[in-house]
Symmetry: C2
Subunit: 415 residues, 2 copies
């Protein structure tokens, strides 16, 4: 246990940066990486990262189980990805047009993801979900979109979960269903008007931030596909969060359910900024008619990094590696919780696990756990799912489990 004085000393640079940030960044920080509402032990600013290890600006070292909220799927500074990125950077990055690796990447994705016949690249996950809906609307000539209530499909006005700054009109064409509840989808279709539905957007499993995760009911997945077929609407899969962690291709391929369009980002280039919209042949013409672009969407380095990432994921059998590490963590954690005597709920796929404590509606226990884990050099978020990556070793999981004993003892003190 670090003593209080020692801890304060080790946070001086972070606190100083926070003070400076508060003067020039609204609220001191914004978005999913703001720690404003997190335990004080949570560092805001980072100095360095390598493999599964990160160092905050005060030099404190952590095993990272957030993986930058998903992008790091092979670990920080993965040799093969960095080599590909450096090789492309030596030639060019943002240029007057794309580089050959753009075509290589599109071909690789079309070969990897079963439903995909083509690809469009962008920068943000939000770009990818938004463009998927634009393509669905261009194809169908309709406006309405059905989304799961509480699902996060990005931070654009149509999708953000906080209503500040959103004009009501911008969400007027959205209707909502409950994830895994087919009857609620049918009600939403009725509400929107069957002939008006351009798309149903969904995610590989239910991963609403702040809630337990829920695997998809295969019957629900099949029903979504059947409803889209009946309506002549697009089934849009938001793979931004889960993509390439559950499967090397699309996340529902094992169910035999193919979307028409899918939105990818986060892990696609192991931390380099890239998003992709993948689609089936019948949607190619609509995709060619919409006008979407961005100043950096043709950047070559992230595309070269994505090619290397996809190849490394396959060669390292990354999905299996993450599943194995995640299972070890889940089982070990369950045992530690039993031993310490703290009831926990671990939900969702082991590669993107979610922890909650029964009855912990104000996240007091989750915060105490996260704070204690940070003190012991392990980063886990109190209100968001965690992410495994292919670089997590048995040693990393052991470090989690050792810390978790103290983390759960901190939870005991909440009662």
């Amino acid at each position: 246990m670090t003593d209080i004085a020692g801890q304060q000393k080790l946070r001086a640079l972070d606190l100083d940066l926070r003070r400076r940030a508060a003067a020039v960044i609204p609220g001191g920080m914004y978005g999913h990486m703001s720690v404003t509402r997190l335990p004080p032990a949570y560092p805001q600013f980072y100095e360095r990262s390598e493999g599964t290890t990160v160092w905050d600006v005060d030099g404190n070292e952590y095993v990272d189980f957030m993986c930058s909220f998903g992008p790091m799927i092979l670990g920080y500074k993965h040799r093969r990805v960095e080599a590909a990125a450096a090789g492309q950077a030596a030639k060019g990055d943002t240029q007057p047009g794309p580089a050959p690796c753009m075509v290589e990447l599109a071909e690789l994705l079309v070969g990897r993801v079963a439903h995909a016949d083509w690809a469009i690249f962008a920068k943000n996950g939000t770009d990818a979900t938004t463009i998927s809906l634009m393509i669905a609307r261009a194809k169908t000539g309709r406006s309405k979109v059905l989304a799961a209530a509480g699902a996060y499909h990005g931070a654009a006005p149509w999708s953000t979960l906080r209503m500040d700054g959103v004009a009501p009109d911008e969400r007027a064409s959205l209707h909502y269903y409950e994830y895994n509840d087919a009857a609620s989808v049918e009600r939403a279709i009725e509400e929107a008007g069957a002939g008006e539905v351009a798309a149903i957007i969904t995610s590989p499993f239910k991963h609403h931030a702040g809630f337990d995760e829920e695997e998809v009911d295969p019957a629900f997945a099949r029903r979504l596909r059947a409803l889209c077929d009946e309506l002549g609407a697009a089934l849009v899969m938001d793979e931004v969060r889960a993509g390439f962690r559950l499967n090397h291709g699309g996340s529902w391929e094992h169910l035999g359910v193919a979307p028409d369009l899918s939105a990818w980002s986060k892990a696609i280039a192991n931390g380099y900024p890239l998003a992709a919209i993948l689609g089936s042949g019948p949607y190619a013409d609509a995709a060619s008619r919409i006008f979407v672009t961005g100043s950096f969407w043709f950047q070559a380095v992230p595309m070269a990094a994505a090619v290397a990432t996809l190849n490394a994921l396959a060669d390292e059998d990354a999905v299996a590696v993450m599943e194995r590490a995640g299972s070890r963590l889940r089982e070990g954690f369950e045992q530690v919780a039993r031993e310490v005597g703290v009831p926990i709920r671990q939900t969702g796929p082991v590669q993107l696990p979610n922890l909650s404590f029964p009855g912990d509606t104000d996240f007091a226990k989750a915060s105490a756990f996260s704070a204690a884990m940070l003190d012991r050099g392990v980063i886990v978020h109190p209100r968001h799912n965690w992410f495994l990556c292919a670089a997590h070793t048995d040693g990393d999981v052991d470090r989690f489990l050792e810390a978790a004993e103290d983390g759960l003892r901190a939870v005991l003190q909440c009662d």
Copy 2:
């Protein structure tokens, strides 16, 4: 002059990549870097870039007067920017939180841009314009936004200039005025309802793609400011295209007209992917209430590159350098045109010049000019303004002027 057979040989790799792209990318390419509707001489894929020189995949060399449509403001592979980016990359890029350079960059921008008291960072110019409107709406509690008809403020459904894929509701809160026409702004306010206007968005000068550029009428700029003050609405300046080419701070500072919010991207990090929203103090609280974020918005490398870019722009006196090179190009080009006997119209600031030919409504002359320039190793777009950068030398301008003589002779043959 290259012979036809020689030229065809030098395009083989580009044509092969285009064939492959046509199979896996809708329409073969998309967005502003698609050459589908440009002269066949226009390369689609690039291999390498350095300073103001780029090489296409067939090894053909060009002096680039498009600067990747704006991002390259110091030239490709600028030593100081690359050193800063490499230094940060060796530490970390996408990490569990931002790096110290984020604060440094926000402080630098607040010091550089007169109206700015704070900064938020994102990836796309579209992110920056969209977030500016969200902040204006959050501050005012109103929905309506006024924009100039035909202006390009990004590729989101509310802003894209092509209606395919856009649900009418998504644009219901937009009303339009004519740039430089104060009476049309007043009509738009009446149409929207004075009490409903959250923001008026505008640009430093009129730069509608496919049209002659037009400098802002200072009286129009002042009237926009006065109207926003009367309405209690935000004046939003879209600096994405012009930012840092006309002035080291905001583009209207010489007019004494300050926006409340400004949107930046393109040139801010000399090609690294970054956007910024800058705002005045009274908008900070609203900015802290909206929820916006992106998986790569806290990437450290582009922020380190932006710090180096802003410092280099100041130290190299870049605005004056671009203005001098641009003036030399404009005057020299005018003289060449007189000599060859082709009427031309050069409009807009010399750092972002626009060329058109009187009566050339189908862009046939502009295309012939662009094609001939490409044959002679100079990249200029037939339907979009060009961009000067601080690396353009007298030699580059001379190469433009020599090529322009042949370019204009090709135009003569259009009649």
